[in-house]
Point group: C2
């Protein structure tokens, strides 16, 4: 319940942000009525939207903000094209730190704790290695069903850290249970690495509570915010989170493969070392000293030269989230999810689908997952036959992403109805069972 209490008032009270209806009445309204009451309805116009498509995959790749078209165009034509190498002194050089701080604001970091750089996986490798030198003896604890690239990052640095990895197996619903994390912490975990929102089920773990549990046992905690940043608020500095990483191309709408971010709590910054030494993380890159000396502060976690064009797109995406605010975004995210689940229970569960996400919005990020034995082909048919775009996760799950800045209540309804049609018509049977390269 922590998010709802903190950001939107307790369930059953009027919404905190101007929805003029009680939640109890709200699911009886039509999606059109809900859209008409949506305080974020104007945000959709800030994105390039082809109305013939119902896009339900903002949890994988967020939509394109219109401002990003202008910004990347200007960055290419005006900055690179005309300012040329001078661009480095006219904004580019500080971009990883400045965009980092803008992301930091969305996760509740203090300025100077966050960088935009590299990929989520490389960043996790860096911070686990760095914190490994500070942690007490004991294993690294991770979720057995965490996003695999996170697990791979841990697997590649565990031996260098001289540590074992201990996996928390999921509970009966398929997600990590809070109690199991607390048990692992109390059993001697040195570092625990958790996803704020689970990539499969959308399960939201209580960051504040688990961070406190870790610290009370002398354990360090690292959060992967990839599936929450831009959709679910957090307060990493206030809660004392040791470090975090995350992705910018989902709810931050930074574009395909846009550079990721990392956060390291200020109290650790002067004590840790980045395991990858690179010139932009060194004390004075343009002194060209032959021996690495780290920069002070979070900048030491920079390595090589960052991909500027992709990073300027991140800045535009982050600004858009900041402009509308995470309180409004989180409230709408919960309501979109509640509506989706309400409609799915009525239309899709009777057709053989089962809910794989938490029922309660306080326990859920911003996507909802449904399972079906023919999920892959249903997903293909939704995309090809219905122009409804969710995604598939092996072996049997369809994820419907709800991105509050552009997903409408009507789209939730259209997605559910289209799924019902695909199942009823069995049109999915004409698609191959073989998976595409990217699902």
């Amino acid at each position: 319940m922590e998010y709802r209490q903190r950001f939107a008032g307790p369930r059953g009270r009027d919404g905190a942000l101007g929805y003029p209806v009680r939640v109890a009445d709200w699911l009886r309204m039509t999606p059109e009525e809900l859209d008409a009451l949506d305080p974020l309805v104007a945000a959709r116009a800030d994105f390039m939207v082809d109305e013939s498509v119902v896009y339900m995959d903002g949890n994988s790749l967020g939509r394109l903000p219109k401002a990003t078209v202008r910004r990347t165009g200007a960055e290419v034509e005006e900055m690179w094209g005309r300012r040329l190498v001078r661009g480095w002194n006219e904004g580019w050089y500080e971009l990883p730190v400045e965009v980092g701080d803008q992301i930091g604001e969305l996760i509740g970091a203090t300025p100077g704790e966050t960088l935009c750089c590299d990929s989520t996986t490389v960043n996790l490798y860096k911070i686990v290695s760095a914190l490994g030198a500070l942690a007490k003896g004991g294993p690294i604890v991770a979720e057995g069903r965490a996003f695999p690239s996170d697990l791979y990052a841990l697997q590649s640095c565990a031996s260098a850290c001289g540590r074992q990895i201990q996996y928390i197996e999921p509970g009966p619903h398929g997600w990590t249970q809070t109690g199991a994390v607390v048990d692992a912490i109390q059993d001697g975990a040195a570092i625990v690495v958790l996803s704020h929102v689970d990539f499969r089920t959308g399960r939201l773990l209580p960051m504040n509570e688990l961070t406190a549990a870790a610290h009370s046992a002398g354990c360090l905690i690292i959060w992967d915010l990839s599936h929450s940043v831009g959709a679910v608020p957090s307060r990493v500095s206030e809660w004392g989170v040791d470090a975090a990483v995350g992705c910018t191309y989902k709810y931050l709408n930074g574009g395909p493969g846009s550079p990721a971010f990392l956060y390291v709590n200020a109290r650790h910054l002067e004590k840790v070392q980045c395991p990858l030494f690179g010139w932009l993380g060194s004390r004075d890159p343009f002194a060209f000293e032959p021996t690495y000396e780290p920069a002070s502060g979070v900048r030491k976690f920079l390595v090589g030269t960052p991909p500027i064009i992709s990073m300027t797109a991140v800045e535009e995406g982050v600004r858009l989230v900041a402009r509308y605010g995470l309180s409004a975004i989180r409230e709408k995210s919960e309501r979109l999810g509640d509506l989706f689940i309400h409609l799915a229970r009525r239309e899709l569960v009777p057709r053989g689908m089962s809910l794989r996400s938490p029922e309660q919005s306080a326990d859920r990020g911003s996507h909802v997952s449904l399972a079906h034995p023919d999920a892959y082909r249903i997903c293909r048919a939704l995309i090809e036959e219905e122009s409804v775009i969710p995604d598939f996760r092996t072996p049997d799950m369809i994820r419907y992403g709800l991105s509050p800045l552009y997903t409408s209540y009507c789209e939730v309804q259209r997605a559910v109805e289209a799924t019902a049609r695909v199942i009823d018509s069995r049109v999915f049977e004409k698609f191959e069972r073989d998976f595409a390269a990217v699902t």
Copy 2:
């Protein structure tokens, strides 16, 4: 002499590529006459060029190709904007491998040995760690005045490899001498890491000869091609180079901070492991297996999700180099450098500048460096007062980059004349001695 012999015929013979004058006569022609005879003169129109600026820093950040404006615009608006997440199955997913192979063609790699990914520094960390497991006992040998980020990468992985780093000190001209490399190899180097072209002086090392020397002593060799790729041909596969890395934003014109590349010789690929495990380097990323198993081939060196918009710019830059061909590019590069040095000897050495680059074009990459006690302020004055843009390298060096696809012989003359004017007028004295953040 190897490059000249291979690609442009011996000095004193007519040029191989249609210059209708003997080299002996050539320096007596005017720059206008040389431009009129330039077989690459049309290539300049493929770049965005503001004729009021003389851009001599393509060795740091190459110019913007016009095709890149169209491509990045289309990639943002059409692919991301309209195809959305479907873009991953419509080209993005294979981009690191496809762009890698296109770069591979320019360095003489066999298809399947090259990837476009991450930064040069991260890539060097990966391949030194990977080859470290194959190398005999002994130190890693590096150039004491290599690009510092390369040295930092070695410093961060040497201890994990259980190896010392041994530095080759430069000879009297400020660059690494071939004999010193051979000595270090014969003294028991396990891995030698060299820059094909030195970032300060432009010194070009004989890759074929030194690779053979390394192999005859059972030593592995890694080349940093950052300052040669796109300007100086190489034949990494034919010469048996063990691995290489390089940058795409210099002579490949990939844009600010564009993703780098790595090459690993096919004979090593199945034996080595990438030290950074990530999902795109795993056997089947969309199987979401909890335990890392590497992909086969060079793909195992991928880690996280790559920055697609920046990478599409690399592809356009690489295509342009491939279209005009490295033989023509290398020949013009040598002639531009010869003209620059000829004019600098006449105009700038008498004004107190000294040549810091090899005199012979066969020993030189595609930039020429001059030293002066007031180099920083002269460089600032060139940029601010003369719209001539070279760059400065501490403590006393100005680098003039010669990028054959767009640098003209007239620009070489204008750059030399502007430098002479700045020294004569002492206009540089009005600039601060304090360095900008990026020089």
